[in-house]
């Protein structure tokens, strides 16, 4: 709905909420994007660096992320997800594209959008996420630590990073069926370890 007329957006300040910033970005305010960048680039880089050791790839993915936000901010819906989670999902998808996408990238070419429709970018925090917030205290933490690493990796990219199983398979370099099986096995193992 790019062409739709919008109500004028008030100017953004340091105190604006992420949602306000995204609305201002949808109204093509460059300042808002810069504020959002200053607020989120640091932790995004921190988390992405935990997933990819190549700083150039991380930086490129991060730049793509903010370009994608600039172009797709109008698809963000206040009700559906925390802005930080929405931004993180875009960032981790950019990283997957950078790592697993086609080898060539057009100079100045269009940013390839993920094949997942944009509406699905907005994720509702799942029950697993909420539980994981407290993992380090409870038995779940121990259970996760005792999980075989290949099963834990699937849990990591689906539950923590918020990728779909299809994207997780691409990220881990597995066939989709294998990723699905591993996710089911990981859930079964966790259930065993927790009872």
């Amino acid at each position: 709905m790019r062409g739709k007329r919008r109500a004028p957006v008030p100017p953004v300040t340091e105190q604006s909420s992420d949602g306000d910033l995204l609305r201002a970005i949808a109204a093509a305010q460059r300042d808002a994007l810069q504020l959002l960048h200053r607020r989120h680039a640091g932790w995004l880089r921190f988390r992405l660096s935990g997933r990819c050791a190549d700083h150039d790839v991380v930086d490129a993915a991060l730049q793509d992320t903010f370009v994608a936000i600039w172009r797709n901010a109008h698809t963000y819906r206040e009700t559906s997800a925390e802005p930080a989670a929405w931004i993180w999902t875009i960032a981790v998808r950019r990283l997957v594209s950078a790592l697993r996408g086609p080898g060539h990238r057009w100079l100045g070419g269009p940013v390839p959008l993920s094949d997942v429709p944009e509406e699905q970018l907005a994720l509702v925090p799942s029950a697993e996420d909420l539980v994981l917030l407290h993992v380090e205290h409870g038995e779940l933490g121990t259970a996760l630590d005792r999980l075989p690493s290949e099963l834990r990796a699937v849990i990591q990219v689906t539950a923590v990073d918020g990728l779909t199983v299809k994207e997780a398979a691409r990220y881990l370099g597995l066939p989709e069926g294998t990723a699905k099986t591993r996710l089911m096995r990981a859930r079964a193992r966790l259930r065993e370890l927790l009872t």
Binding site: R30, L33, W43, F46, G50, F66, L133, E136, V160
Partner: protein
Amino acid sequence: MRWHIDGDMFAAYQRGDLTPSRMMAVDTHLQACATCRAAVPQDPGWLDASWSAITEMLDTPRPRPAERLLTLVGVPHHRVRILVATPALRWSWLGATVSVLAFGIAAALAGQSGAHMTLLLYLVFAPILPVLAVATVYGPPVDPMHEITSVTPVAGPALVLWRSSAVVGLSVVIGMLGAAFVPGPGWWAVAWLLPALLLCVSTLALATVLPLIRAAAVFGGAWLVVVGGAAVAGSPVRPLMFGPLAQAGYLAAAVVAGVVLSARRRRLDPGEMR
């Protein structure tokens, strides 16, 4: 929030020293806690560099459909830019080609009784159009950007040939579309293709001796005089000039001209005054 991430934990995360469950805890906590997000160790120099890279990406114009199509076909990026970056030239010859063809077709549709004559006119003029296009691809009289282009490393034969291929390709496509509307047996509608090929290649071959425009004038003029003259003199132009024998002759001559062009391509006239 019952807990916050401290400096040690950030450092351990970056070193990869945390247990897997704690890594996940940091990940999920960061996503939910603005205080900890702001507390992540920052590098101001990196932040500025990242932002300037992003603004550069935002300010880069997005490629237009023609550009994307050419890239898809496999033309290298720098060639694509050259081909799409001369809109002034593009519109002038495109307009000329389309309007000349449109007049011919309109005349053909207006009077079916004159269909024979119209087809003849079409066959005589259609081969000239690609030559006109080639004549106007390069050089001071037609290219307003020529002075700037001529001092760049891409100037010269390569650019002449790239632009020529582009305009000839498009002219042929337009000519074929036009031919579809011309009344008469289908075979005649494509009879102009080989003469057009011959005229274009020999124009380029002659351009290794004369300026491009003059070379185009020589061959375009010669074609008009010979074929037009034959028509006026009342000779059976179609069988004579467009029959199978003549077509074979055009093809052979075009091959010869192509050999000459490729042997002398380094001397292809860039259109400067001599």
